[in-house]
């Protein structure tokens, strides 16, 4: 249920402090909205980038961690580039995504999160490099299990066939790296 607009916000400092600790300070935001002005993805967002920064500054954890915005961000870095106060807004979006997953928050755009997971799993599975063909196959199966959309499936098969005909599909996986163990260790340390 949406909160009524007049309900006052209770500011908390903890979230801003956590962001500062992660080298992502947001306290210098003076609300110029340049980030939202230049963002190409606002049409798909529920709250705008400057809202994310402002709400983070006011410690409104649930609102930012549960927002669709953080998952829709394509990390194009326009906001970070243009912020007059040097706030790494795209970096904040990343931190919020990682934190939302770690804290078990409900993820509004589960398929985007799942894609990122499949991507990382794919690096790990082939010990260092991504096989795009396998990644796309695995993700397509996941999506079919979730919701079978025949139109989309037909489109994907059609595109796959076009790529196949053009010799752009690699069935063989990437070569095993000598540094296989190092890659495993990176993932272990990253708690993945």
């Amino acid at each position: 249920m949406e909160k009524p607009a007049h309900q006052p916000i209770k500011p908390q400092v903890s979230l801003a402090q956590e962001l500062t600790k992660a080298h992502l300070p947001v306290s210098s935001c003076f609300f110029c909205r340049k980030c939202s002005g230049g963002c190409p993805l606002t049409f798909a967002m529920d709250i705008l980038p400057h809202h994310v920064i402002r709400l983070a500054l006011l410690g409104q954890e649930e609102q930012v961690l549960d927002s669709e915005t953080i998952w829709v961000c394509s990390a194009c870095q326009t906001c970070t580039t243009r912020c007059p106060n040097g706030i790494d807004i795209a970096g904040v979006m990343d931190w919020l995504k990682e934190t939302a997953v770690k804290r078990g928050r409900p993820i509004p755009d589960e398929e985007v999160m799942a894609f990122h997971r499949f991507f990382l799993k794919s690096i790990l599975a082939s010990s260092g490099r991504v096989s795009e063909t396998r990644l796309l196959r695995n993700y397509t199966f996941y999506k079919m299990r979730r919701k079978l959309d025949l139109t989309e499936l037909k489109q994907n098969i059609n595109l796959g066939w076009k790529l196949w005909k053009r010799n752009r599909v690699r069935l063989m996986g990437p070569p095993a790296l000598q540094g296989k163990a190092e890659i495993k260790e990176i993932f272990r340390k990253g708690e993945f």
Partner: protein
């Protein structure tokens, strides 16, 4: 000139046309691309969404490997380049967290477009152009992540890069100025949220057409994929009949220099560039 080459996963996968065109033109410019031994995935646009740690350590391993070799590194993929630069910053900046990987910062990290548009290469190219690409009206479309954020990439012309236009002029292509050369195509959202790509890319088609362009020239395989693979779907969705081939800048170099395999790489695109090239008397 010898450089360390970090191709990245896509160039071993769907972007084999880009990879082949790079391998094709390098000898023509006296560049020897020595592939980085045992390189791994940079984590692309997914690792940094789920794990800051993994997203730094994956490219940092590549950098450490490259520094041992000692040559500068060239990356043809915008994402790979960006992640290498992020790792470099983390490894060299004392204010960033400690990664525990020794790195001096003695090598330079290049994105392929910047590398090949150095004056020395443009000067070397000019006399080699045997098939000038006259009458081809193109807009340059730069990948977001080769330029942004400047604090990471070290670029100064991040809002209005001009180096691809400079290159095209050497090849006698007519680059058309437009305001959307660094706007995002949606990048890695292509798989999970194609609806978003449709909106972003359709805008780019419309803006390119408004500028009276007839093709795109790109330097990023993610941009190429989104502009090329989705064209039929977007045409259907918006009830339009878009025909805008999407060239890699390396393919145009190959065409202008008369490389015998250039047409083979172009045939791997989904939007066939041949009708356009033929209509301009270029094929």
């Amino acid at each position: 000139m010898e450089v360390t080459y970090y191709p990245g996963c896509s160039l071993e996968g769907t972007a084999v046309d880009y990879a082949a065109s790079i391998a094709g033109i390098a000898p023509l410019l006296d560049v020897e691309l020595v592939e980085l031994f045992d390189w791994n995935c940079c984590g692309a646009s997914s690792a940094h969404c789920l794990s800051h740690q993994i997203a730094l350590h994956l490219p940092a391993r590549n950098l450490a490997l490259a520094e041992k070799v000692g040559r500068d590194v060239v990356a043809p993929c915008a994402l790979c380049f960006n992640r290498l630069k992020v790792a470099e910053k983390a490894l060299l900046d004392p204010e960033e967290e400690e990664l525990g990987i020794p790195y001096e910062g003695a090598i330079k990290i290049w994105d392929l477009l910047d590398f090949l548009t150095q004056d020395v290469f443009l000067e070397a190219l000019a006399p080699k152009v045997v098939a000038p690409l006259i009458n081809l009206r193109a807009v340059c479309y730069y990948g977001c992540l080769v330029a942004r954020p400047p604090a990471v990439t070290g670029k100064t012309n991040y809002e209005n890069p001009r180096n691809m236009e400079r290159l095209l002029k050497v090849l006698k292509v007519k680059p058309i100025d437009w305001s959307f050369k660094t706007d995002c195509c949606g990048a890695g959202l292509a798989v999970a949220r194609p609806d978003i790509i449709d909106t972003l890319v359709q805008r780019l088609y419309e803006r390119a057409l408004a500028a009276k362009a007839e093709c795109f020239v790109v330097s990023c395989q993610m941009c190429q994929a989104n502009l090329d693979l989705a064209q039929e779907r977007i045409s259907r969705k918006f009830g339009k009949d878009y025909y805008l081939p999407v060239f890699y800048f390396t393919e145009l170099i190959a065409l202008a220099l008369g490389h015998p395999d250039a047409h083979k790489w172009l045939a791997q695109h989904v939007v066939d560039p041949m009708p356009l090239l033929k209509s301009r008397g270029l094929a």
